[in-house]
C-alpha cells in the first residue's frame, strides 16, 4: 500500500497577498486539497453602505493595489447603469486606454517578477537578474511604461484619482497622450520579445477540461465591458450574472468559492479571454500566437505565461491605436443627477472577470454593494488543478511536486488581497 504523503506550503510566495496550500495523497489518490486564505477580512461591502456613489471609485480602488483600475471600472460601469448614464465615445476610448496601462503593468509584473523564476529554476527575480539582467531590465522597462500610461491618465499608478461616475475628473490634451506613442512602441517590441522568450520555457504538459468564462464584445477584445460568455454556451448580459453564478463560504478560507449554477468550477483570466475572444485580436497578435505555438483551444494552464505576454502585446498595440485615433471629448464628464436604482458592471481585471453590483437610494447613497473578484471565482478551480496535478505527477519527489503545485497556483496570478473578504453570500439551497 502506498504511503500517505502531504504537501504543505505555509506561505505561498510570489503571489499578491497571503495564502497557504495543503494536499494530502496516497499513491496517485488525492484525499484532500485545501488552498487556505487566512488574510484578514476587510469587509468592503459593509463599509460601502451609506457612502455616496461619487466616493465609490476611490473606495473600491483600495481593495487592491495591483488592479485598482479594474475595481474602479467595474464600479463606474455598475453605477452608470444604475443612474442611466451614457458616456461620450472619447471618454470610453480613454477608459479602455487607462485599463490597457493596468494590463501592461500587471502582466509584466507577473511574468517577470512572479512567474518566470518558476520556469527557469530560480528562487526569485533577484537570482534571475544575476544571470539574466538585460532580460529582467527589459521586463521592468515594459512594466514601467504601463505604469507611466496609468500615471498620465490617473495621476498615479496605484489608486489613481481620475476616474469618476460620468467620465473623468480631467482628461489629458491629445498632445500629452501622443508623447506616450514612442514609449508604447518600445513596449510593444519588448512585449513581442517577451512572448518569444517565455514560449521557449519548458512548459509542463498538463491539460484540464475547463469551462472558460470571460467578457466578450462584438467589435473588440473585451476589456472594460461586454457580455459574459463561456465555452459551454453561456451568453448573458452582466445583469444576469447572479442568476448563473453562486458563491459559497468554505471553512478553511476567508474568501468565498464561486461556481456556475448546476455545473461547478470555471476558469477566468488570460487563458479564458484568449480562447473565447481570439478572433478579436489584431492579426499581428494572432500571427505571433501561431509563431510562439499557442492556439485558441489551449487548455494547459502553464501556457498562461505565454498568453499573458500575447495580451501584453495586444494591450500595447491597442493603446497605440487608441492614442492615434483620440479626439478629446467635449467635456471630461457628463452631469449626474442622483436617484434610486440598481446597477451591475463587469470588466476584465488582468487576472479575470470582476463583477460589481450596487443598489442606490434616492440620494445616490449605497444601500447594498456586492463584489465578486476574479481570484474568488478561481479558487475552486485552483484546488481542482492541484487535485489533478498531484494525481498525475505523484511519481515526482515531494520537493519537486511541491514546487509544481506552487507554480500551478501562480498560473492564476492570484490576487489574494482581492479575493478575501468581500463577497456577500448567496446561500446554496438544496
Amino acid at each position: 500500500m502506498s504511503q500517505t504523503r502531504t504537501i504543505k506550503v505555509n506561505t505561498l510566495a510570489r503571489v499578491e497577498g497571503e495564502g497557504s496550500l495543503y494536499v494530502r495523497f496516497s499513491g496517485s489518490h488525492v484525499s484532500d486539497v485545501k488552498l487556505k486564505i487566512p488574510e484578514p477580512p476587510r469587509l468592503f461591502e459593509g463599509i460601502l453602505e451609506g457612502r455616496s456613489y461619487e466616493e465609490v471609485p476611490d473606495i473600491v480602488a483600495r481593495i487592491c493595489g495591483i488592479c485598482p483600475v479594474a475595481h474602479q471600472m467595474s464600479a463606474v460601469n455598475a453605477l452608470e447603469q444604475a443612474l442611466g448614464i451614457a458616456v461620450n465615445p472619447s471618454v470610453r476610448a480613454l477608459r479602455r486606454l487607462f485599463y490597457c496601462g493596468e494590463w501592461i503593468e500587471s502582466h509584466a509584473l507577473h511574468i517577470y517578477l512572479l512567474h518566470a523564476p518558476d520556469y527557469l529554476g530560480y528562487e526569485d527575480v533577484i537570482l534571475l537578474a544575476r544571470d539574466h539582467k538585460p532580460r529582467v531590465e527589459a521586463g521592468l522597462r515594459l512594466k514601467r511604461i504601463g505604469n507611466d500610461l496609468m500615471t498620465l491618465l490617473g495621476g498615479r499608478e496605484i489608486h489613481p484619482v481620475s476616474l469618476c461616475v460620468g467620465g473623468f475628473y480631467k482628461v489629458p490634451p491629445a498632445a500629452e497622450l501622443k508623447k506616450m506613442l514612442g514609449p508604447l512602441e518600445e513596449a510593444r517590441d519588448l512585449a513581442v520579445e517577451t512572448a518569444r522568450f517565455v514560449s521557449r520555457f519548458d512548459i509542463p504538459d498538463f491539460t484540464q477540461p475547463y469551462e472558460f468564462v470571460a467578457l466578450a464584445h462584438d467589435e473588440e477584445y473585451a476589456i472594460h465591458e461586454g457580455r459574459v460568455v463561456s465555452s459551454r454556451g453561456l451568453n448573458i448580459a452582466v445583469d444576469q450574472y447572479l442568476d448563473h453564478f453562486v458563491e459559497r463560504q468554505v471553512s478553511h478560507s476567508h474568501a468565498l468559492h464561486s461556481s456556475i449554477r448546476g455545473r461547478g468550477s470555471y476558469l477566468v483570466g488570460p487563458l479564458a479571454r484568449f480562447n473565447l475572444n481570439f478572433a478579436r485580436l489584431p492579426e499581428g497578435v494572432r500571427n505571433l500566437a501561431a509563431e510562439v505555438g499557442v492556439t485558441p483551444d489551449c487548455t494547459n494552464p502553464f501556457q498562461g505565461i505565454v498568453i499573458r505576454a500575447l495580451e501584453t502585446v495586444f494591450a500595447c498595440e491597442e493603446s497605440i491605436r487608441l492614442i492615434e485615433e483620440y479626439e478629446p471629448p467635449p467635456a471630461p464628464r457628463v452631469g449626474v443627477r442622483p436617484h434610486a436604482g440598481v446597477g451591475q458592471g463587469c470588466s476584465e481585471a488582468p487576472r479575470g472577470l470582476l463583477y460589481h453590483r450596487y443598489e442606490l437610494d434616492e440620494k445616490g447613497l449605497i444601500r447594498t454593494a456586492r463584489i465578486v473578484p476574479p481570484t474568488a471565482q478561481s479558487l475552486k478551480r485552483m484546488e481542482e488543478d492541484l487535485y489533478f496535478l498531484v494525481g498525475e505527477m505523484a511519481g515526482l519527489p515531494t520537493p519537486e511536486l511541491t514546487h509544481r503545485c506552487e507554480q500551478a497556483i501562480r498560473n492564476y496570478d492570484p490576487c489574494i488581497s482581492c479575493a478575501t473578504h468581500f463577497l456577500q453570500v448567496t446561500v446554496e439551497r438544496a
Binding site: 487592491c64 480631467k170 463577497l423 456577500q424
Partner: protein, 273 residues
C-alpha cells in the same frame, strides 16, 4: 549599518523584511514599482522575508522591518509583537499600518452586523471589532504616510535608515504642494470639498491637479486646523453627514479626522427630526 542586537555582522548587507497584514498590497507594490531603482535596491540589501517577491526566508533578527497593513485579527495582534522583536528598526508603510486604513471604517460600525452582511457563518471569521495602527500595539520607529505611500518617500526612508540619518519627509500641508505645482485652489475657485489644508503633503497634490478636492490619503498634518476647515465646508453648503464622510476615508481613525467626523455626525443626529 551598525548592529545593536547582532542583526547584521560588519561588512555584510543589511537584512530587510517586509510584512503584510490587512491591506491591499499597494504599499509593498510601491517598492516593485520603483522599476528604475529596484535591482539596485535589491542588490544593496539582503531580502530576508518578502513573500510577495520571494520564498526565501532568512533567520531573524532583521535590520529593518517594513510593515504594510493594520491589525484586525487576534492572530495579527499577537504576530506584530513577534515581528517587533525580530526587527531592529520597524517602519510602517502607508495608511493601513499607520492609521488603521480604510478598514478602520468598521470602527464606527457594528462589526457583527457588517460580518453578517458579508459571510453566511460569520462566527468562523476571526475579526477584531477595530482596525488599528501598528503603533497602538508596539513601538514604531518611523511611520510613512499615504494611501498608497510615495515611491520617492519610500526610497528616501530606506536610504536614511540604511545610512543612519534622519529621513527627510516634509510634514507641511497639501496646500504647499499645490502652490509648488501651480494648481488653482479648487476649494476657493471651484468650491470643491478639499481637505488639502489639513492633510500632510506627499502625493504631489494630484487631486487638485486633476480638478478635484484632496481626499486626505496622507492623513492629518501636524496641528491641523480641522475646525476651521469644517466651517469653510459648511459655508460651501456641505451637510454634516457629508462632512463626516469627507473625513472618514483612508485615515478616518487618526484623532484629528475622527474628532471632526464624530462632531459632524453628532450634529447631523441632532438636526434630524
Amino acid at each position: 549599518m551598525k548592529s545593536e542586537n547582532g542583526a547584521t555582522p560588519p561588512n555584510s548587507k543589511p537584512k530587510i523584511a517586509i510584512f503584510k497584514l490587512a491591506s491591499c498590497d499597494g504599499c509593498q507594490l510601491t517598492l516593485l514599482d520603483a522599476e528604475d531603482e529596484l535591482l539596485t535596491v535589491l542588490g544593496a540589501v539582503e531580502i530576508a522575508w518578502f513573500p510577495e517577491a520571494t520564498p526565501r526566508v532568512l533567520k531573524p533578527p532583521y535590520d529593518i522591518g517594513l510593515v504594510e497593513g493594520s491589525i484586525t485579527t487576534h492572530h495579527d495582534a499577537e504576530y506584530i509583537h513577534q515581528v517587533r522583536k525580530q526587527c531592529r528598526v520597524l517602519i510602517t508603510l502607508g495608511a493601513c499600518a499607520t492609521a488603521g486604513g480604510i478598514q478602520a471604517l468598521r470602527n464606527f460600525q457594528d462589526l457583527g452586523a457588517t460580518l453578517r452582511k458579508v459571510y453566511t457563518t460569520p462566527g468562523s471569521i476571526s475579526a477584531l471589532k477595530m482596525s488599528t495602527p501598528i503603533a497602538d500595539h508596539v513601538p514604531v520607529d518611523f511611520e510613512l504616510r499615504g494611501c498608497p505611500i510615495g515611491k520617492d518617500q519610500l526610497l528616501e526612508v530606506l536610504g536614511a535608515f540604511l545610512s543612519g540619518r534622519k529621513p527627510n519627509i516634509p510634514t507641511a500641508s497639501v496646500c504647499m504642494d499645490c502652490k509648488r505645482r501651480g494648481n488653482t485652489c479648487v476649494l476657493v475657485a471651484q468650491g470643491a470639498s478639499c481637505i488639502g489644508p489639513v492633510t500632510q503633503a506627499g502625493c504631489g497634490a494630484i487631486c487638485p491637479a486633476w480638478g478635484r478636492g484632496c481626499y486626505g490619503c496622507f492623513g492629518p498634518m501636524e496641528s491641523a486646523n480641522t475646525a476651521s476647515l469644517r466651517d469653510k465646508l459648511v459655508e460651501l453648503g456641505q451637510s454634516d453627514a457629508e462632512i463626516a464622510r469627507t473625513f472618514r476615508r483612508f485615515n478616518a481613525w487618526t484623532w484629528p479626522f475622527r474628532e471632526i467626523s464624530e462632531k459632524a455626525e453628532r450634529s447631523a443626529g441632532e438636526a434630524r427630526p
